[in-house]
């Protein structure tokens, strides 16, 4: 401690002395001292480029102003950020940047949140001296998500560095020199990345903007709500921008331990799914057709079917549902004395203590790992932002990555040593050389994907992975694909004594021993597999579950309720309500509460606070928002032996994994662009004034 203190470098910024660690850049030292430095190319999470020159500061005894983002501090440096030289230098740089920047702010989507606009106002000159023609650059095709107006580009190369460093798809680059420099994608191909939307946030000007959001809203007319994403099990922190009741866009929020400041394309562009295919009134099936009905009529029908048939009623919770709703569902099923509850609609064979089903090492912990084994997991599609974290660790070097499963491009080098469970058995028996690598590593990690657990021998795979972790001292980590899952398992939505799991419920429904099935946002189950069972669907979108349902009770989507979600590492986070549920839809827990009263098993809570109190009593760690509560060591569950089939991955259609994504037209466009690489996006939409 004292050693680092002694090593600190003393720097004077605008007459104020600060002490910073050696190797710090002048810009960081200035920020420490509270002096704001304008910048375009510098970004904390990307490498330093130093090419925009906006961050010039004056350093005593230096012959010229220096770029503060690239220059490390030296002892006793005296920096000025307010001198006349600095002011002139900034004005000069800004004047050069604006020479070739079009004056189209009124029709530019970046207007109002544009770094160039803000900094031209703050640091630029007051008038233009430029009489020549401005340069024009042809727009590039970057696919259905990123709209390009390349004339606006100031060549900061943030997008180039992001694609190379974070996304791992070196497909954006700069060609030409001097005034002829252009940022382009090779061969006019769209970005083959699940994180391409982040270049929109990174672009300091309006060169790269969101294509689906183009010309729909201005930032100052949007109501911003900070909430949590549910498209994957990461729990990325997001901000939902609403105009009225309509979701207009979704942006990432910074959370260093979860998503840093990145967001996957599915999370970012799924917003139009929130505005379509909404269940806004109850439906009941009459003469084989679903017809709109009142809540009373719908409840009457449910009551007539479920009353006295508690034990013949089963419930399945879906992928996007909240902890509060699942707790109420569990309470209802307990009150009905039915053990047939399951939250693992994909049929994953997960059992055992909490350590068996969470990402024990934590997402930020990936950066401390020094060897990684992926078992039946393709993190690039299952959790793109987590994949970026693995890549970040990979780029630091000395990080052997080995995977079991079908060989795919993970954006970093991973050795695929086998495709199936037999390879896992070999590793466990020490027959693979990577077993020694794991053993010798200080901080090895094992990540198990859902694809490896939904098989017949899922329990055996889980047991083998846990045994391997115990044997090699590696941390056991499960990567979920469903945002609802960890909360569901925490709350015990698994079959009770004598209860059926998802497969068992389907069999029993076909044989007739289970007469009623409650689908709580469960949309991944084929309707035909339930025989003649009476199906109650409670959810937000008209998807597979709603089509099979006999009664539909409309509930709230994740942006329409204040609700708890637990991410794959066991971090409980609370969403905030950005809009009210549409039409007659109600918050999920209220539906279960009202239903319980109809079935004469009234749940003991009348408001959200009382429900939460009961929930926290049952599962105390849900109350500790944003904390990762360490779990006990995983315990290998009983099993019937490993099979030999190859692992399949849990996510294949990245853009269609849940009902909201399936309702989204933007996701459909993305999938289409992915399948038809020749016809990516539509670049024929120029208005004649946009460049």
């Amino acid at each position: 401690m004292s050693e680092t203190e002694n090593n600190l470098v003393k720097v004077t910024v605008d007459g104020q002395a600060v002490e910073v660690a050696p190797g710090t850049t002048i810009m960081q030292a200035c920020e420490e001292a509270g002096a704001e430095i304008p910048r375009f190319c510098y970004h904390e999470r990307l490498s330093v480029a130093g090419n925009c020159r906006m961050c010039l500061v004056e350093v005593e005894n230096a012959p010229k102003p220096v770029a503060s983002c690239a220059m490390p501090v030296a002892p006793d440096m005296v920096v000025s950020t307010t001198s006349e030289t600095v002011k002139t230098a900034r004005e000069g740089v800004m004047e050069f940047l604006l020479i070739n920047h079009p004056l189209d702010c009124p029709i530019c989507d970046q207007g109002g949140e544009c770094d160039l606009q803000d900094q031209a106002l703050g640091f630029g000159g007051d008038a233009s001296r430029f009489d020549d023609n401005k340069r024009a650059v042809e727009n590039k095709n970057m696919g259905p998500l990123v709209k390009t107006i390349m004339t606006r580009c100031i060549h900061c190369t943030r997008c180039v560095r992001f694609a190379q460093e974070v996304a791992g798809v070196p497909e954006i680059g700069a060609i030409g020199r001097g005034e002829d420099t252009e940022i382009t994608t090779y061969l006019e191909a769209s970005l083959d990345s699940e994180m391409s939307g982040n270049v929109i946030d990174l672009c300091p000007v309006g060169a790269l903007t969101s294509r689906p959001y183009a010309f729909t809203a201005r930032p100052w007319e949007l109501r911003k709500t900070e909430t949590i994403d549910v498209m994957d099990a990461l729990g990325s922190n997001i901000r939902v921008d609403m105009r009225g009741r309509e979701a207009m866009r979704i942006m990432p929020r910074n959370h260093d331990d979860v998503n840093e400041e990145w967001l996957s394309d599915k999370s970012r562009f799924v917003w139009d799914g929130l505005n379509t295919q909404r269940l806004d009134r109850p439906f009941i099936r009459q003469n084989g057709k679903l017809t709109p009905a009142s809540w009373d009529a719908a409840f009457d029908l449910v009551e007539s079917k479920l009353k006295g048939k508690g034990a013949a009623t089963a419930a399945i919770a879906g992928d996007l549902v909240c902890a509060e709703g699942q707790f109420a569902l569990k309470g209802l099923m307990d009150a009905l004395a039915s053990p047939h509850v399951d939250c693992r609609q994909d049929g994953a064979k997960i059992s055992g203590p909490r350590g068996n089903y969470i990402f024990n090492a934590s997402i930020a912990g990936i950066e401390e790992a020094d060897a990684l084994l992926l078992i039946g997991s393709n993190p690039r599609l299952e959790a793109p932002v987590l994949n970026a974290r693995i890549r970040k660790r990979y780029l630091m070097g000395d990080f052997p990555i080995v995977a079991i499963g079908e060989a795919v491009d993970l954006t970093y080098k991973a050795e695929f040593i086998g495709a199936g469970a037999d390879t896992l058995a070999d590793l466990l028996a020490g027959k693979q050389s990577f077993a020694d690598t794991l053993k010798n590593a200080k901080n090895p990690m094992i990540i198990v994907g859902q694809g490896a657990l939904t098989r017949e021998d899922g329990a055996a795979v889980l047991a083998a992975a846990i045994e391997l972790a115990a044997k090699t001292g590696a941390s056991f980590n499960m990567l979920h694909t469903a945002a609802a899952r960890v909360a569901g398992l925490d709350l015990g939505l698994v079959p009770g004594e004598g209860g059926h799991d998802v497969a068992g419920i389907q069999d029993a429904a076909q044989s007739g021993t289970i007469e009623n099935v409650i689908f709580y946002g469960a949309d991944e189950i084929a309707g035909a597999s339930l025989g003649d069972a009476f199906v109650v669907y409670i959810g937000s979108h008209g998807d597979r579950g709603a089509h099979r349902a006999d009664v539909i009770l409309p509930a709230a989507a994740y942006t329409e309720k204040q609700a708890t979600y637990v991410n794959t590492e066991g971090r409980a986070q609370m969403t905030e309500q950005a809009a009210t549920p549409p039409g007659e839809a109600r918050e999920d827990w209220k539906i279960f509460r009202a239903l319980s009263a109809r079935l004469d098993v009234t749940l003991p809570y009348d408001n959200l606070a009382a429900l939460r109190a009961a929930m926290y009593e049952a599962v105390p760690h849900l109350a500790q928002l944003d904390d990762v509560i360490a779990a006990d060591a995983p315990v290998a569950p009983p099993h019937d032996g490993l099979g030999a089939e190859a692992f399949t991955y849990a996510v294949n259609d990245f853009y269609f994994t849940n009902p909201i994504a399936r309702a989204s037209a933007i996701m459909a466009d993305c999938a289409k662009a992915k399948n038809e690489p020749k016809n990516r996006g539509d670049s024929s939409e120029g208005t004649g004034t946009d460049g």
Binding site: L274, R278, L279, D280, G542, P582
Partner: protein
Amino acid sequence: MMRFLKMLFTWWHHQTLSTLLHTRRRGKLMGVDGQGNCYYEDKHGASINGKTRRWVLYNGDIETTRISPEWHGWMHYTVDETPDQAAYVKRDWMKPGQINMTGTKDAHKPAGMADTTGYADGYDAWTPK
């Protein structure tokens, strides 16, 4: 009693008490329009910005758009003759006056507005096949 208190403390239900007293003391009735609104001028010629003070006592809700079109010009000092002094001509293309409906359910909604296209709620509802 309520009416009297409202007269004292609010201005939007009825003329305030002080306006009534002021009108009795200084008002010279210039005319009454079809709705029963009474238009006054200061009888001693007291002026504001060089113009003789003019005001109206509404027959009902206090709402400036209730001033009749023929009196509008006089009230706003566009003309000095009241409609009955001057030959106010009502052309056949003139529509009858209408009060401002903004904020009420009768507010004007142009075609294409979200309210009239059924997208006011900001979502498309699912309909079963």
